[in-house]
C-alpha cells in the first residue's frame, strides 16, 4: 500500500506492506537508523518518535499506515542548522548516555515531555520517562540532563 509520511520536514512516499511497522519504515525505507528497536512488547522505548509535534509514540507498536499523512520527528530531526537541540547538548553535558542505544528514544520522549511540562521536577521526569528503559546510566544523569534542557529552553523558548 502507498503511505506518505512527513519525516523531519521531508515527505516520504513509499509503497509498503501493511504490516510494516513505523520503526522499520523509518529505518529501512527512509534510511533513518537513529530510531532503534529493543523489544517486541512496547516495553523498552528505544523506538520512540514524536508524532505531529508533541506526541511521543512507540514506533514499533504502530504501523507505518497509521502515520500516513502525519508528521514524524525522529532524533535526526532534533538538531537545527547544525546546532544541537538543548536536550542533545544536555545529555552530552550531563553524561546522560553510555552505549547510546536508548538515547534516541530517551531524547524524543523528553522532547514531548517538555512540550507538555516545560519545567518538570526530578520526580516528574522520572515518572514521564518510565516508558523508556536504559541499562547503562541508572537514570540519575538522564534526569539531570532533562532538567538542564528544561532550564535552557525556558531561558530561550525560541529554541523549541
Amino acid at each position: 500500500m502507498k503511505v506518505s509520511i512527513t519525516v523531519n520536514g521531508v515527505q516520504h512516499e513509499k509503497d509498503v506492506e501493511p504490516r510494516t511497522l513505523l520503526a522499520y519504515f523509518l529505518r529501512e525505507h527512509c534510511g533513518l537508523t537513529g530510531t532503534h528497536v529493543g523489544c517486541d512488547t512496547s516495553s523498552c522505548g528505544c523506538c520512540v518518535v514524536v508524532m505531529d509535534g508533541d506526541t511521543a509514540v512507540k514506533s514499533c507498536t504502530m504501523f507505518a499506515a497509521q502515520a500516513d499523512g502525519h508528521a514524524i520527528t525522529t532524533v535526526e530531526g532534533l538538531a537545527q542548522g547544525g546546532a544541537l537541540h538543548p536536550l542533545q547538548q544536555a545529555f552530552w553535558d550531563q553524561h546522560g548516555l553510555q552505549c547510546g542505544y536508548c538515547t534516541p528514544g530517551m531524547l524524543m520522549t523528553s522532547y514531548a515531555l517538555l512540550k507538555h511540562k516545560p519545567n518538570p521536577t526530578d520526580a516528574e521526569v522520572r515518572e514521564e520517562l518510565a516508558g523508556n528503559l536504559c541499562r547503562c546510566t541508572g537514570y540519575n544523569n538522564i534526569v539531570k540532563a532533562v532538567r538542564q534542557a528544561a532550564e535552557t529552553l525556558q531561558a530561550a523558548p525560541a529554541q523549541k
Partner: protein, 782 residues
C-alpha cells in the same frame, strides 16, 4: 621555544565524552543499522520443547513461501562438518542447529533465509518440526541423580560436568568444628540475563576474493576471528571481524552464538550478505544467561567475632551445554575471591557443575567470572554471623578486615590482593550516610513496629583477567594490546584490542595518551573493534579493559616518549642523557628555559629527526603480573511495607575504591549503571524455569528491567588506593557496583525483618516473598 602546544593534566578530569556527538544525533553505527546490496534476512526456527527427539523436519512448505531463498538444518551443517561449536572453555561443545534432539526450550533447530524480515519470519513459521518429547531435567539436583542422561554425545556418561575446588578441605572442616559459632545457609543466586538493550546480531558477507567480512555485536572481535577460523576452517587472514557501535554488552556479547555460524553458512551458500538480528525473546531465552549458583555457605567464628574458617559448596546449573565464558583453568572463574575482604586463616570452596534442559551460558554478567556470586555469598554470610553473635555488622567487618599494612595480602584461597584500605573506605561511607542518625531512627521506628533496614556490603573484587600463567580462552592467553601512532602535527591514533560497549574508551584511552605525552586528548583518535587494524586483544569484559589495555596504552605512550627523547635531544642539541621529561615536555636538565614540546618533537620525527629512526609509533602487548582488586563499601537504607511486602530503597550510598581514576564523570556513570543492575538482580530480574523446563521470562513484560521510577537515586563517593603493579595505578570499576550491591540490598531487607526473626530470603526479593516471610514470622509469634 614555544610551549602553548602542551596540554597538561588530561588524567583525572571529567572530560565530556568524545563519542557522544554521534549518539545524541542518532548517527551511531550499530549492526542493525548496516545495509548492503542484496542483503538477506535470517530467522531461526526454535524448539518449544525443552527436551525432545526430532522425529522429522519438513522444510518443503517454507521453501514455497514468497521471498524465502533457503533453509538449513542441523543435518546440513553436520554434513558440512559444522554441526558443533566449541565453547570458550575449550572443554565442551554446543550444537549449532539441533542434531537428533533438542536440549532446551527455544534451542535453534533451523535457519531460514529470505528477502525481508517478514518473509524470513513467514518461512520460519512454515517449517514443520515433529518432536517426540523426552523427560525434562530442570534443576541441578535432579540432574545429579543421572536418572536422565542429557548428553550422550559426550564420552563421560554423566550429567556431571566438572568438580573444581580450591583451599584446604580438611583444615577448614577441623577449624569449623573447633569454632565457637558456625553460621550455615544455602543461598541461591538465581539465573538472570544481562539483556543489553541492543540484542545480539550480525551481518555476514563474502567479497569477490572469498574473504569473510563479519559485522557482529562482539565484546571480543579478535577471539571471534580465531574461533570462526577454528569452527569453519576459513584461514584467519580471510576473516575480517568488525564490531561497530555496541548497544551494551554486560557479558552477553562475549560468547559466539549458533546464529552467527548460521548467518556465515547462509552467506556462503547463497552468495549474498545475510543479516541476523535477535528478537528480545531469542536474546532472553537462548543467549548467555548468568549465575544460577546454589551455594552452601558456612562461616566459623570465635565468641568475640573473629572469623576462623569459611566453607562454600556450590551446585552450578550450566544448562544444556557448558558455554560458561570462564577462562580454561578456572571452570568456576574467580570464585576463589569468596573470602572477600576478611582475614580467614583457612577456607575451602568447591563447585560441581551439572547439565540441565535449560539455555546454555554462564556468562560474566557485568562481573569478573563468578565474582558476583562469591561476593554475595560472603557479604550475606558476614551479616548472618553478625546477627548470630548479636554484633553490629559494621563492627564485625572492621574486626576481620584485611588491614592496610597487610597488603600485598595472600588470601586463604590463593589470590594476592594488590592494595586496599578497607577501614578507611568504610569510615568515609559511615560518615557520609550518617550511620549514627540512621541507627537512632531505626530504633524509634522499631519501637513503633515499623520495618526499616540498613544493609552493608564491604566487598573486594578481583578483575583484569589476566596473567597468562593462569588465564586463557580457547588457549589464547588473556593479555591485551595497544598501538599508538603520533602524526607529524602532534595529533594521533590509538588502537586497542578491547571494545567499548558504552564504557567510553574513545575518551579515556585518549586521556591516558594525552597525559603521558602532553598532547591534546581531543586530537587523539581511538579506534577499536576492527580486526584488520587493531592489534590482537581479548576484548572488553570482566573489567579488564583498564587493567590490561589501559596499561598497554600507557606503556606504549611511554615507549613513544623514550623514542621522542632522542629526537628532543637532537632538537635541543644535547646528549639524550641531558634531556628530562618534566611538566609535560622535554627539558634540558637544570635549564628550564630550554624545552621542546611533544608536538614539536612529533613534527621533527618526520621532518628533522637527525640520526634517529623516522616516525613516532609504538605497539605494546601487556601481560599483567597480577589481577587488580577494587573494593568498596555500599550502604542501602530500606523501608518495608508490612501489608504489601513492598520494599522502598530510600537511600543508597556507594563508596568505591578503583585505584587511580582516569575520568571521574565516566567512573560515576559506570557506578550508577552497575548499581541499577544490582538493584534489578536483587528485586526484579530473574530467568525462571518451571519444573517442565518452560522458560517463564521470555520478554520485557516478564523479565523485569527497572525504569526510572523503580530505580533509586544513587549517591556515590570515592577513595583512591592505587594498584602498585599497574602502570597508572588504575584497577577498573565497571563491575564493582553490580558485584557489590546485591548483598547490600538483601542485607538491608533482612535487617528490616530481623526483629520478626527472619534470617534469609533468596533473590529476587519480591513483594510476595517478603509478605510471606512477615506472615509466617507473625504466625510463629502467634
Amino acid at each position: 621555544m614555544s610551549t602553548e602546544t602542551t596540554v597538561k593534566g588530561s588524567m583525572g578530569v571529567p572530560m565530556k565524552r568524545k563519542e557522544d556527538p554521534r549518539f545524541i544525533q542518532g548517527k551511531g553505527n550499530y549492526v542493525d543499522d548496516l545495509s548492503f546490496p542484496g542483503m538477506l534476512y535470517m530467522a531461526i526456527v526454535r524448539s518449544p520443547y525443552p527436551h525432545a527427539e526430532i522425529v522429522n523436519i519438513d522444510i518443503s512448505e517454507a521453501l514455497l513461501v514468497p521471498g524465502v531463498k533457503a533453509v538449513i538444518t542441523g543435518k546440513d551443517l553436520e554434513a558440512a562438518g559444522l554441526g558443533w561449536l566449541p565453547t570458550f572453555h575449550g572443554y565442551d561443545k554446543q550444537m549449532v542447529l539441533a542434531i537428533g534432539k533438542v536440549l532446551f526450550q527455544y534451542q535453534e533447530v533451523a535457519a531460514v533465509f529470505a528477502e525481508s524480515r517478514g518473509a524470513a519470519a513467514d518461512g520460519a513459521e512454515a517449517v514443520q518440526v515433529e518432536y517426540n518429547p523426552l523427560p525434562v531435567v530442570a534443576d541441578p539436583f535432579t540432574s545429579k541423580t543421572d536418572a536422565v542422561l542429557l548428553r550422550p554425545d559426550r564420552e563421560s556418561k554423566t550429567n556431571h560436568i566438572y568438580h573444581w575446588e580450591v583451599g584446604d578441605r580438611d583444615k577448614t572442616t577441623q577449624a569449623l568444628a573447633a569454632s565457637d559459632t558456625v553460621v550455615k545457609q544455602r543461598m541461591w543466586f538465581p539465573r538472570c540475563h544481562p539483556a543489553p538493550l541492543e540484542p545480539c546480531g550480525c551481518v555476514a558477507q563474502f567479497d569477490a576474493m572469498g574473504r569473510l567480512h563479519f559485522h557482529v555485536t562482539s565484546q571480543a572481535p579478535h577471539v571471534y576471528r580465531t574461533a570462526i577460523s577454528i569452527v569453519t576452517g576459513i584461514p584467519e587472514d580471510k576473516i575480517h571481524v568488525i564490531s561497530p557501535d555496541i548497544g551494551g554488552g554486560f557479558g552477553n556479547k562475549v560468547p559466539v552464538y549458533p546464529g552467527y555460524v548460521c548467518a556465515i553458512v547462509g552467506a556462503l551458500k547463497i552468495g549474498r550478505p545475510v543479516k541476523w538480528i535477535e528478537s528480545r525473546t531469542e536474546n532472553l531465552t537462548s543467549t548467555g544467561f548468568a549465575r544460577d549458583y546454589h551455594m552452601d555457605v558456612e562461616i566459623g567464628a570465635t565468641k568475640d567475632g573473629t572469623v576462623t574458617a569459611l566453607k562454600v559448596s556450590t551446585l552450578a546449573d550450566h544448562g544444556a551445554f557448558d558455554a560458561a565464558a570462564d577462562p580454561t583453568k578456572y571452570p568456576a572463574g574467580m570464585f576463589g575471591i569468596v573470602t572477600g575482604s576478611y582475614t580467614f586463616p583457612v577456607a575451602h570452596a568447591e563447585v560441581d557443575a551439572y547439565f540441565t534442559n535449560k539455555a546454555p551460558g554462564g556468562v560474566a554478567y557485568r562481573c569478573s567470572f563468578r565474582v558476583t556470586e562469591a561476593s554475595y555469598a560472603i557479604e550475606r554470610g558476614m551479616d548472618m554471623l553478625a546477627d548470630e553473635l548479636g554484633l553490629d555488622p559494621v563492627e564485625l567487618r572492621k574486626k576481620n578486615f584485611v588491614k592496610k599494612e597487610q597488603f600485598p595480602y595472600p588470601s586463604a584461597l590463593g589470590f594476592t590482593y594488590d592494595s586496599g584500605d578497607y577501614h578507611h573506605t568504610l569510615e568515609v561511607a559511615l560518615e557520609k550516610i550518617g550511620y549514627k542518625d540512621l541507627l537512632e531512627e531505626q530504633a524509634r521506628k522499631r519501637a513503633k513496629g515499623e520495618l526499616m533496614g540498613i544493609g552493608f556490603s564491604t566487598f573486594t573484587e578481583v578483575v583484569g583477567a589476566g596473567p597468562s600463567k593462569h588465564f586463557d580462552i580457547l588457549g589464547i592467553k588473556m593479555f591485551d594490546s595497544a598501538e599508538i601512532r603520533i602524526h607529524p602535527t602532534g595529533s594521533g591514533i590509538v588502537r586497542a584490542g578491547t571494545k567499548s560497549q558504552g564504557q567510553g574508551h574513545e575518551t579515556t584511552w585518549a586521556q591516558i595518551v594525552a597525559e603521558e605525552l602532553g598532547l591534546d586528548p581531543q586530537n587523539i583518535l581511538v579506534e577499536e573493534g576492527d580486526t584488520d587494524t587493531a592489534p590482537y586483544g581479548l576484548g572488553t569484559y570482566a573489567s579488564r579493559s583498564t587493567p590490561t589495555a589501559g596499561a598497554a596504552i600507557a606503556m606504549a605512550a611511554r615507549r613513544i616518549r623514550e623514542r621522542a627523547r632522542k629526537i628532543a635531544a637532537h632538537l635541543l642539541e644535547v646528549g639524550e642523557g641531558d634531556v628530562e621529561w618534566k611538566d609535560y615536555r622535554f627539558q634540558v636538565k637544570g635549564v628550564p628555559s630550554k624545552t621542546v614540546t611533544m608536538k614539536e618533537v612529533a613534527f621533527a620525527a618526520y621532518t628533522n629527526m637527525g640520526q634517529n629512526e623516522p616516525g613516532l609509533e609504538a605497539t605494546q602487548y601487556y601481560d599483567p603480573p597480577n589481577m587488580t582488586f577494587p573494593h568498596g563499601t555500599y550502604i542501602a537504607v530500606v523501608d518495608v511495607d508490612r501489608e504489601t511486602g513492598e520494599v522502598k530503597v530510600r537511600r543508597f550510598l556507594a563508596v568505591d575504591d578503583c585505584g587511580t581514576i582516569i575520568n571521574p564523570m565516566i567512573v560515576e556513570g559506570q557506578v550508577h549503571g552497575g548499581l541499577t543492575e544490582g538493584f534489578a538482580i536483587a528485586f526484579m530480574q530473574e530467568i525462571q524455569y518451571d519444573k517442565d523446563g518452560n522458560n517463564l521470562n521470555t520478554n520485557f513484560t516478564d523479565y523485569l528491567v527497572p525504569t526510572s521510577l523503580e530505580s533509586p537515586h544513587w549517591e556515590t563517593a570515592h577513595t583512591v588506593t592505587p594498584s602498585p603493579h599497574h602502570p597508572i595505578g588504575a584497577k577498573g570499576v565497571g563491575e564493582s557496583p553490580n558485584v557489590g550491591s546485591p548483598a547490600a540490598f538483601v542485607n538491608a531487607v533482612i535487617d528490616a525483618l530481623s526483629p520478626l526473626g527472619v534470617r534469609h530470603i533468596d533473590m529476587p526479593i519480591t513483594r510476595d516473598k517478603v509478605w510471606r516471610a512477615i506472615r509466617d514470622a507473625d504466625a510463629k509469634k502467634g
